[in-house]
């Protein structure tokens, strides 16, 4: 590309990236602006009242149900994040450091993710049900005398299902950060007299903190707003904020309140995520 001057190079860059950038830019910003506008309006049945009001925010922030669902969504998403990252780390470590055929392992990890998310959640519903796969199998081999009832329709079912769904998103970023570690650093740590555990805690783990942070964010942010899993396996004790938002846009037909709830959910996610990144990177610095 030596023949081209930098100016036309930049022009080409802008021209080629413009469709994608403008498309995503428009579909991120325009809905946001309209959502904010709607949140200041009110609706009764089919009439939309366009006078500016903070009623939706007042209603959303004082309603115990909203607060409860929002806190539960963050609690469940946080639990899922920790559960997934803790269980995925050894796998990422195994693939990066021990496995003979890394490509095959990575492929095996990602294949289930390519099946429909809806179907995977549906499968868990069938497995955990009262008359389901798990209970019938346990009864069949005589481990239990009557079906277990704590499996389905609670927070546990939601967390288990989500941890299953998000596994590759935890494994891949951690794997990448493990791959980047220079083997000479590990050798140096051993030469300086560190045992295996000490070497892991003082060299390997701190160096993979960026991967862990990435994994946490990739899992936490979308999980807070998950709709399918709480609907199918959550029961009444496992409902999350997305279920309430959907009701506002569906049966309750109160779009302004739905818009307000969406914005509040987005702000809570952003707030928790920023708090997490700040504290995690602070911790990372202290370890080093």
């Amino acid at each position: 590309m030596g023949l081209l001057n930098p100016r036309s190079e930049a022009a080409k860059g802008y021209a080629l990236s413009a469709p994608a950038t403008l498309y995503v830019g428009f579909l991120v910003s325009a809905p946001l602006i309209i959502l904010v506008t709607y949140s200041f309006w009110t609706q009764s049945y089919v009439t939309l009242d366009k006078t500016f009001t903070l009623d939706n925010y007042r209603e959303a922030l004082t309603d115990p149900l909203v607060r409860h669902l929002l806190l539960r969504s963050i609690w469940i998403a946080g639990g899922v994040t920790i559960l997934t990252v803790v269980t995925a780390y050894p796998i990422a470590y195994f693939i990066a450091m021990k496995a003979r055929n890394k490509t095959i392992w990575l492929l095996l990890i990602t294949i289930p993710f390519w099946s429909s998310y809806l179907l995977r959640v549906f499968a868990w519903k069938l497995i955990l049900g009262f008359n389901g796969v798990m209970n019938s199998a346990l009864l069949g081999i005589g481990l239990i005398d009557e079906p277990l009832t704590f499996l389905l329709y609670n927070e546990f079912a939601v967390m288990l299902t989500l941890a299953h769904a998000w596994a590759p998103f935890a494994i891949l970023p951690i794997y990448v950060s493990l791959q980047k570690i220079e083997p000479s650093l590990l050798e140096a740590a051993s030469d300086l007299g560190n045992g295996k555990v000490q070497r892991f805690l003082r060299v390997t783990l701190p160096l993979t903190i960026p991967g862990i942070i990435a994994a946490c964010l990739i899992i936490f942010i979308p999980t807070v707003g998950d709709y399918v899993t709480p609907s199918l396996v959550g029961g009444s004790d496992g409902k999350m904020i997305a279920n309430l938002i959907q009701v506002q846009f569906g049966a309750a037909n109160n779009w302004p309140l739905g818009a307000t709830l969406s914005l509040l959910a987005m702000m809570s996610v952003g707030f928790v995520a920023i708090l997490f990144v700040l504290s995690a990177s602070g911790l990372g610095r202290r370890i080093k």
Binding site: M1, L3, P6, A10, K12, G13, Y14, L16, S17, P19, A20, T21, Y23, V24, G25, V28, A30, P31, I34, L35, Y38, P90, I91, Y93, F94, K98, L107, I111, P112, W114, S115, S116, Y117, L118, L119, R120, F122, A123, W124, L126, I127, G132, V133, S136, A137, G140, H164, A167, P222, G225, Y227, V228, A242, F249, W255, G258, A259, S262, M266, V269
Partner: protein, 261 residues
């Protein structure tokens, strides 16, 4: 042979945890009974046979195929150009633009769905397959950009320069040099973005109106216990299709990485 380490045992059990739930769907789709539980009563293909006669299902399949193909074509074209810009040209704001294009991956589904519904209604697009296509193109774009980026990463720019020097124009060079070299990447991107759209539920649930896609149709069937065996059969076919598409996509993605001479 050495004794397998604890870590290896853990890795294999984790793999079982990842695969078992998904494998129960096909297993019970052949079960000659309407309750999904052990023991399996007998084997049958009846549930699959019944699928062919359901008109709403066929219509949903046609809807999904149309949406998937359109979203795949549009997102792959945009991704192809954007990826070329990011890999080949240096320009101010390139990183910001790339970050923005990756954003659809991390926004919670319910927020994308509800905000797009409000936007589309406001600008006069009724819930319809068109709305779903617009939404799925948005969701699929990050996948197409990252696949096309790796295709361009392995592409030697001197091949294009040689074509220019030999007197080819911009369009001819693109058609005869660039396109053939990145075409495995394009095929991989088409397959992956199609799968993303084909499996997507929440957005289609909000935006499809009275034209359900296949996942929206499945959602409506999950509620009816009597329909369960049919839903299992349909779900198994869908799983098979997704995995088959992925394997083909992976084959082409690898070919695109090896194609640099």
């Amino acid at each position: 042979m050495t004794r397998p380490s604890g870590l290896a045992i853990y890795a294999f059990s984790y793999l079982a945890f990842l695969y078992l739930p998904v494998l129960f769907l096909p297993l019970f789709s052949f079960n000659d009974g309407t309750i999904v539980a052990f023991p399996i009563k007998g084997w049958t293909l009846e549930w699959y046979r019944q699928l062919g006669g359901q008109e709403t299902l066929i219509q949903a399949l046609v809807n999904s195929l149309g949406v998937g193909l359109t979203a795949a074509l549009v997102s792959t074209s945009m991704g192809l150009f954007a990826a070329r810009a990011y890999v080949r040209y240096r320009f101010r704001g390139s990183e910001a633009s790339e970050g923005l294009v990756m954003l659809p991956l991390v926004i919670p589904g319910i927020i994308v769905a509800s905000s797009m519904l409000v936007l589309f209604i406001s600008i006069g697009i009724k819930p319809s397959l068109t709305a779903v296509i617009l939404g799925h193109t948005f969701l699929a774009l990050p996948f197409s950009v990252s696949i096309m980026k790796s295709a361009f990463d392995d592409f030697d720019p001197s091949l294009e320069e040689a074509a220019f020097d030999l007197g080819s124009g911009v369009i001819e060079t693109f058609r005869r040099v660039t396109l053939p070299i990145v075409s495995p990447g394009i095929i991989a991107s088409l397959l992956v973005t199609f799968t993303v759209s084909f499996d997507e539920f929440v957005l289609a649930f909000f935006l499809s109106g009275n034209q359900p896609t296949l996942p929206v149709y499945i959602w409506s069937q999950i509620r009816f216990p009597a329909k369960l065996p049919n839903t299992l059969a349909l779900g198994s076919l869908l799983l098979l299709a997704s995995v088959a598409l992925l394997v083909v996509a992976e084959y082409f993605r690898r070919r695109s990485s090896k194609s640099t001479i």
